[in-house]
Amino acid sequence: MSLTDLTLRAIQQRLQARELTSVDLTRAFLDRIAAVDGRINAFLTVTGEQALADAALADRRLDEGRGDALTGIPLALKDVFVTEGVRTTCASRILDNFIPPYDGTAVARLKAQGAVLLGKLNMDEFAMGSSNENSGYSPVRNPWNPDYVPGGSSGGSAACVAARMAAATLGTDTGGSIRQPASHCGVVGLKPTYGRVSRYGVVAYASSLDQVGPIARDVEDCAMLLQAVAGHDPADATSVTLPVPDYCAALKDGVKGLKIGLPREYFIEGLDPEVQKALEQAIAALGDAGAEFVQVSLPHTDYAVACYYIISTAEASSNLARYDGVRFGRRVDRGQGLIDMFMQSRAAGFGPEVKRRIMLGTYALSSGYYDAYYLKAQKVRTLIRQDFLDAFDRADVLLTPVAPTPAFKLGEKTADPLQMYLSDIFTIPANLAGTCAMSVPCGVSAEGLPIGLQLIGRPFDEATLLRAGYAFQQTGDWHQRPAPL
């Protein structure tokens, strides 16, 4: 077994027992990146020299017995996290030369523990996309088959873990951007409850939906990484003051007596038969492990995509107003005044999907249309959220597909934006409801592409979600199958 095949937990144990040095481990991951990333394209920036220097410091800290949970562990970050002194592009040409002057809170917490950061990961531009084909640089490829997309928008983060180029990564999830790529790449991805992790220093897409979360090899690794970044931050007014539980404490308590809800609106015609079959097998396995199943209904599911594409684009149009060629980012000035400079800079810097969403959002917020679109969507959001609260009266967690199909081919859905949006149908509702959800590998299609199941938990009950996911992993080995790279 190569060093890069070790889980976060296994790495932690070996580093702390001093059977392994962070420098050797970091070098192994950098070698792996050099060997395979030419085929995957997960990294936008590799910070090799800095990583080796940080690894040496981590080794000294571990030698002195001052190690923390993540000391010396090589991780990588979606390029949506601002990193002091390290170029942060959000995969947009408008931020091609942006060197942030500070670290965001999640990054600062990882650094304080002595984690080693290997670099910044490719993504859909400004986190807008479901396939990574919207990267302003070049698309990421799925490590299971390079003709297929890795999912999006955290496609680089999921592909990086699947290709063993970092022990784990952080992504962000606004409508499924952690869970869908995790599912398509055969790794575990967790979107925590809105407010659980600080978003200070995370480039904003849709501020009432965005949330930071881990992508890792297995559920326990996700729990460890969530532990490191969760908790209140005075710099993010939307982060909550609720105490952070010990996510690993109850991880192995099993699912005996746990009530798992199956929402009937998620098991529909049109669901890929292989996805359906993988889920049925997962349900049977969890039943054998002692879980109880109840039928539940989320009656407004069918409205979630429409609701999301009004709210998220409206918020995006407002958030992305800051890219104006004045304080940072690209400027195109034809000498025809300030407004022309704004319009030319934005037109040159943003890619087509970002422009499309800014346009939709601007329209939805514009005078005369606000009530018909934005306010209406906010009201429908209330109904969708209430669906979940009602379902959680009857079930402790919900089990659903992550995506209607396994990964699709590059280019397959780029011609029709609406078809691409509909691929997020099962992940969007948890963002609108603000609750936590996780993708766990549960199968591989006949074509050799991974399939994931989604577990959705009560708000701020990540612990039960992780316990259910861990119990499922004990029933099989889907999460241990490596991408045939």
Partner: protein, 95 residues
Amino acid sequence: MKISREQVEHVARLARLALADEELDALTGEMDAILGYVEKLNNLNTDHVVPTAHAVPMENAFRDDRIGPSLGTQKAVANAPEAADGCFVVPKVIE
């Protein structure tokens, strides 16, 4: 049609995007299709529904009014396309 090309041009000006003719043509069709799809929200009666701005109930997050460390001018202007004397330089606004 949910949206006309003239409306799309107007929205582009509001959004401060200088779009080429081909982009405006394509967006007119795409936005029309998407707005047609979101029309389904009107199937729901929401007359007595309170809108949700944030999924997690939140109150104002107050803090003490105390001076703390901040970025500083030098770092704040370091990424500017053009800066002088600690200020962002923009094209002339007033003739």
